[in-house]
Amino acid sequence: MGKELFDSFVELREDDVIKIVQEKIESGEDAFAIAETCKNALIKIGDLFSKKEYFLSELVMSGEIFREIMEVLEPKLVGDEKEGNKIGKIVIGTVKGDIHDLGKNIMIGTLKGNGFEVYDLGVDVPPEKFVEKVKEVEPDILGMSCVISIGWDSLKETVEALKRADLRDKVKIILGGGGVDEEVATFAGADAAVKDAIEGVEQCKRWVSV
């Protein structure tokens, strides 16, 4: 039965997945074990994405199916099971001057599915707000999204602000979004720039040594 659920999820057969999860819950199966099967399916979907067999549209669909599954499972999960084991903490936002949030939201969904605790600051986030949140929650990683070139200076200003607050050495900084690449990362003083959510999550996992 675990395999049937796993396969249905990997093949993104939404109706089948939800039906199987509901049947399992009704027959008294452990909700935590069902959630673990689904998380493994998400990891497999990420692998298929890395191999270019799946694309962003499949990641979005898998995120939606996972959300629906968790709606069914959450009332049955107890205590720490609701949160799951967190592997790292990340503060994330789209930089000042830029209001795009599509890629950032996909990244957040992927990070959560992979066990990260995520603090989303939204869009058009000024440097001081990033600094304030980093100070408050002491994350392992700061993620900044930037889609248009107007955000390049904001990236640099945020890194400078972290330096002034003596926080730069305490976090790894990852950049994402259509407007960034290695050259922009070097300009801004970030640690990495990634092309997509899966590459981003892999980089974050390496940093927290998972």
């Binding site: 993104l12 939404e14 270019k52 799946y54 694309f55 962003l56 549209s57 499949e58 979005v60 669909m61 939606e64 001057g97 830029d98 209001i99 795009h100 599509l102 939201n105 248009i148 070139s149 107007i150 390049w152 407007g179 690449d181 050259e183 922009v184 070097t186 300009f187």
Partner: protein, 385 residues
């Protein structure tokens, strides 16, 4: 028009036409998108460039006279917050109003069209759906549907202004790269539904998505050809911002986007107009599919996400390719690096003709980097056979 600029205009026009027809011109043509760099270069604000015709034209004149590129990438239109909904059916944030004066206008992608609207859209087409959704798209404009339909019937004046701007381009010796164009039906639907909802639609209601895309095609062709007729330039640009492997799977591409592209090209080329496929995102895995398009009827306009060398290998004998100096290269690099990459493009993609050197310099570009690209085309891009 003086003789010198008239001659330059003819030379440039011919250079582009020879290239887009897959023949070998005297040298590789060079073009770049102007709108991000022109206003700063002319010391005016982005808002002035977008809303003041004289200032916009002054900025274009300075740019063209300085760089002497082979064509204008954009048509000389002012920004119109209402009519921008036609190619970009999204809520927008406007510089000087919602954003700082020097910001570009930005989209807020949200679910403007609901899943229930598909039935209407698939029967009534794009334009009527757009009018239906206008109160959601421009909530700040009271009675927006009536204002929109009234104004659209008075576009003759706007067209006159645009025609006068085009005439001035010509007087400066600058032809237009594209004569008209529109966003593709697939991308329009994606923008109206929002990317995430449109992904879910692919799994939950793919049939009606396909029907709606099909319904939109003739209208989009008519709109694109309308611009071509007004400008007299036989190239129509179709914006393909959401079709690539960066956003949707190859299966979805194969089933919905590819048949749409084929139909668009077929209908546009019936009018002896070439389709510029403006391809955003990574098209590398999609390139093989484009071999199904008719030879010599399209131009592949690529950004740096696609492997342009692979594109040459797969499609070089079928369609002209334009591309692909990337944004950060203009801002953070050196003239030498720009020259090196431009030479590589000219050597490989320019082999045998059918190549336009193109870049998209951002506002932060260094003058000397843009100049390096233009000069490399002019000096190194000369065909010796």
């Amino acid at each position: 028009m003086n003789l010198e600029t008239e001659e330059l205009y003819k030379q440039r026009k011919e250079r582009i036409e020879t290239t887009t027809n897959l023949k070998v011109p005297d040298r590789v043509p060079v073009i770049f998108s102007e709108n991000e760099f022109a206003w700063g270069f002319a010391n005016i604000s982005q808002l002035e460039f977008m809303t003041d015709n004289e200032k916009m034209m002054m900025a274009y004149e300075k740019l063209f006279k300085t760089f002497q590129q082979d064509a204008a990438y954009f048509e000389p239109y002012l920004f119109d917050p209402l009519f921008t909904v036609i190619p970009v059916p999204c809520i927008i944030k406007i510089p000087g109003k919602d954003l700082p004066e020097d910001s570009p206008f930005q989209l807020v992608e949200s679910e403007i069209m609901t899943e229930d609207d598909y039935k209407y859209a698939s029967k009534k087409g794009y334009f009527r759906t757009l009018v239906k959704l206008l109160p959601k798209l421009r909530p700040e404009i009271p009675d927006v549907q009536n204002i929109f339909t009234e104004r659209i019937t008075r576009t003759v004046e706007d067209m006159r202004a645009s025609s006068s701007n085009r005439q001035r381009f010509r007087e400066w010796g600058i032809p237009l790269w594209n004569g008209g164009g529109m966003e593709s039906p697939f991308s329009l639907l994606c923008l109206m539904r929002s990317y995430e909802k449109f992904c879910l639609d692919m799994y939950r209601r793919r049939d009606i998505v396909k029907q709606t895309v099909d319904k939109f095609i003739p209208e989009i062709v008519r709109m694109s050809l309308g611009g071509v007729k007004a400008s007299g330039v036989p190239r129509a640009q179709i914006g393909l911002h959401r079709e690539s492997s960066s956003t949707f799977s190859l299966k979805i591409f194969e089933e919905i986007a590819l048949p749409m592209i084929k139909k668009l090209v077929e209908l546009i080329s019936k009018e002896n107009v070439m389709t510029i496929l403006h391809c955003d995102g990574d098209w590398t895995p999609n390139l093989e599919y484009l071999t199904e398009l008719p030879k010599g009827k399209c131009i592949l306009d690529l950004d740096d996400s696609t492997d342009i060398f692979k594109a040459k290998e797969i499609l070089g004998d079928r369609m002209c390719i334009a591309g692909n100096l990337h944004e950060p290269l203009f801002a953070f690099s050196t003239p030498q690096k720009v020259e090196d990459y431009s030479k590589k493009l000219i050597d490989i993609v320019g082999e045998g003709g059918g190549f336009v050197l193109k870049g998209e310099p951002p506002r932060e570009s260094k003058f000397e980097n843009i100049m390096a690209m233009v000069n490399t085309a002019k000096n190194y891009g000369v065909y010796k056979y």
